[in-house]
Amino acid sequence: MGMNRKWAFLFLMLACISLVSGCWSKKELTDVALVSALGIDIDEKGRYVGTFQIINPGNVAGGMQGGGAGQGPSVSVYSTTGNNIVEVSRRASTKISRRLYYAHTNLVVVSDELAEKEGLAAIMDAFDRHPEFRTTARVVIARESSAADIVKTLTAVDKIPANKVIKTMELTEKRWGEHVKTNIQEVTKDLVSPGKEPILTGFRMIGNAKKGEKMENVQESALDAILQADAIAVFKDDKLVDWLTGETARGTLWVLDKIKSTGISIDWQDKQEAIAYQVVRQKTKVTATMKNGQPQISINVQAEGDIDEANVPVNLADPRVLLRIEKALGKEIEKEIHKSIQHASQHKTDIFGFGEAMHRSEPESWKRMEKNWNDEHFPKLKVKVNVDAYIRRTGLRSKPMHFGGHLRVGPPVGQRVKAVGFSTPRG
């Protein structure tokens, strides 16, 4: 009796469970389209154009079945238009046989046109709200190319173009420090913060867009179209206002404490960029104070690194020489930082988060300044920069090749091929 009742109850509960939930979220892998990147442009009517980069799994992962990899393009790209992001996404079902699946979307490309005209906030809302979309997806701005071009271009070593863009951006931030990786969460955070404006890396498609879409593009050693990280987009009040390049861009990263390693060159004895210094470790501290009723920022940078190249006769075994080099390096970094601050001041946009630093240390004063921080207080801000650069190692060789003149190996100095990382022209 009691046993029967128990079973009946259990059965009832199970029945209820299946009614309540069902398999409504069931989606076979063969029914989903894995969207790896999403590009958003704006058309002449002001509508959004979404470009979906969808992974063709069979062409990416070879597996055992007859070596399918490389047979076709690793991604397929579809474009649809709509008045908002959801409309764009839903309308895509007219063209794509599978349900768009955003959980693996890790790149959002926004065209510079859209960023200038409409701003980011409108589209970020959809990404932030969608339960599938990851807020860790990276956001980049298509610079002087359409977002569709960035999404469509096939890439060689990394088969999925979205991965190539992300990995390029992450690597260059770590190795060179003129670009910055930013994800949806960081963008939205900076958008709502009155004390900091977002910055985003720009990407540019170099070459022939039409050729870049073809498989031939990846079957050549020198690709017809490549995707390159290009400058940092500066935003103000949600809209793209400026691009930072070269030293200005790197100066920004110094302030933001995002430099992992980079190369700095200084002039020595009338020779331009004669000594190359590789930063291996750095720490930047930004402190905000109020002095005589005026906000003041002081930036302290401590950089450690090695001498990587010395193309002038310089005695690196002499500690006094090293001290002088260290000082010159400090000056150089200081120069970059000042350059970037000046640049931001001109556009009246606090991309460094000085406002947030002020908020933390002087909350009372911040309340007064919060409203017109960007337009009034930030451009007038007094910024003190102090850089200490330390040389930790000078490489395997202590004397330069032509130190003393008796030892000369390799090509003459003038034609010498410099190490790749250090010879790239800035910007």
């Binding site: 939930s21 992974i55 799994p57 992962a61 597996g63």
Partner: protein
Amino acid sequence: MPSFFKRKNVTKTRYNQKSGNKEQSPEKKPGSIGFSLSVNLDIIKQRTGNSTDIITRHVKIGPNYGLKTVVVYVAGIVNEQFIHDFLIESLMKDHFLQEDLNLENAAEIIVDDLVALSSVMQISEWNQLLLSLMSGDTIILIDGLDKALSVSTEGGEKRAIEEPGAQVSVRGSRAGFVESLGTNTALVRRIIKSPDLWLESMKIGKVTKTDVAIMYINGIAKQEIVEEVRSRLNKLEVDSILESGYIEQLIEDQTFTPFPTLYNTERPDIVAGNLLEGRIAIFIDGTPFVLLAPAVFVQFFQSTDDYYARFDMATALRLLRILIFIISLIAPAAYVAVTTFHQEMIPTQLVITVAAQREAVPFPAFVEALIMEVTFEILREAGIRLPRAVGSAVSIVGALVIGQAAVQAGIVSPAMVIIVSITAIASFATPSFSMAISARLIRFFIMISAATFGFYGIILAFIMLLAHLCSLRSFSVPYMTPLAPFILANVGDTIVRFPWLDLGTRPKLISQKDNIGQGETMKSQPPENSGMVTANTGKGDGNES
């Protein structure tokens, strides 16, 4: 659920208390042996249906060979050498002992002087006579005497003691139980040389009359549990007991559960270890598997090697086995859940690889998993039954069909093959076979659950399993002891094994006396001064130690 204290009305009497009233008995006192030898022999013939393996040997004993006597035994289950040498020969030849022999003192003289075998009993009941005859005893009937003598001559072919087949261990005794109950109990006695090791015998099975013995250590085993085991065994009224599995299923607390609530083993050292923890061993004649009660869940993940190896390795291996058990439960289910519900949970690169493999597969992931699992179960089942000669052929076909052809034909994905293989290997790595096969069944249940609800379903199934496990009892001891009624003192020997010095208590709910009494005092320590290190140098101050 039966418990100790709520004993059900036992109206049925024990099988051996029942009298064998039979109308066909020609005696005036039914069931008793009569005086006439020929009538008695006829009865034996009639009761055994003239079976040809019943040997009757007529001899005449006493002065002038006046007493007609018959020796009856069943060929094959007796030690015929003994019967010839110590029974028939002495009956026939030792005349100097038989000078005073007459009908009145025949039985006594035979018992005292003639039979040079250890156990001789006088029987007067037919049932008893037939039972001992069928058990391998030799019966001596004398004309004119309404009694029979039963001489213990059990024997016959026996398997020698070998290494156990199902429970192999790296270290430890190589002896495994055999089919003979006497050998098995002796194997345990050889380990525990204590007078407190008590053994009780009974016969179960109305037809088979199988010898069953319970063994426990008096003073360690709980009296209530011993009593419970005894009463549950005595209650049994079945035709036959062919294997320990019969008893296990007949006396377990709950029938409707996939989990075994009695432990079975082939190893005397496991039995000894469990007796010392207060458990009760049930030996059944005719099977090398001995039952141990009460059993708890964690016991099924312990192996003898855990106790013989050092504690750190033992603990690591036990944790590994728990992991293995979980893998064997949920590996296919997790694959189904991940590929049909939670694609966001796998790294992008992996999801692409899996998606590429799934691309050509015509079935939903669940069906794919089901096909592979069922195929594997078929292979496994076939593997057990196959004659050794064709075994290799089937394994080649199996490996090729499952591993290669199915993948190349695009029927299943290579990832699924990996999942099924891992599951299969995992299911063989559980030390207890009875626990491993219960995982086999539950696996399908969890797979269905995962196919309907995804990970939510797996968790749901796990909660149900856990609730079920906590509701189970084995001879009134909660199945999840010492984890579910949490007993701190006993946790040292569960999914971890503490060093021996820290295992000072017996399982609390199972044994009578908790404390074993080992501890810090036994701990070996280096000598306090002038240790071995410094002794040779001659000038150390002993601080090195």
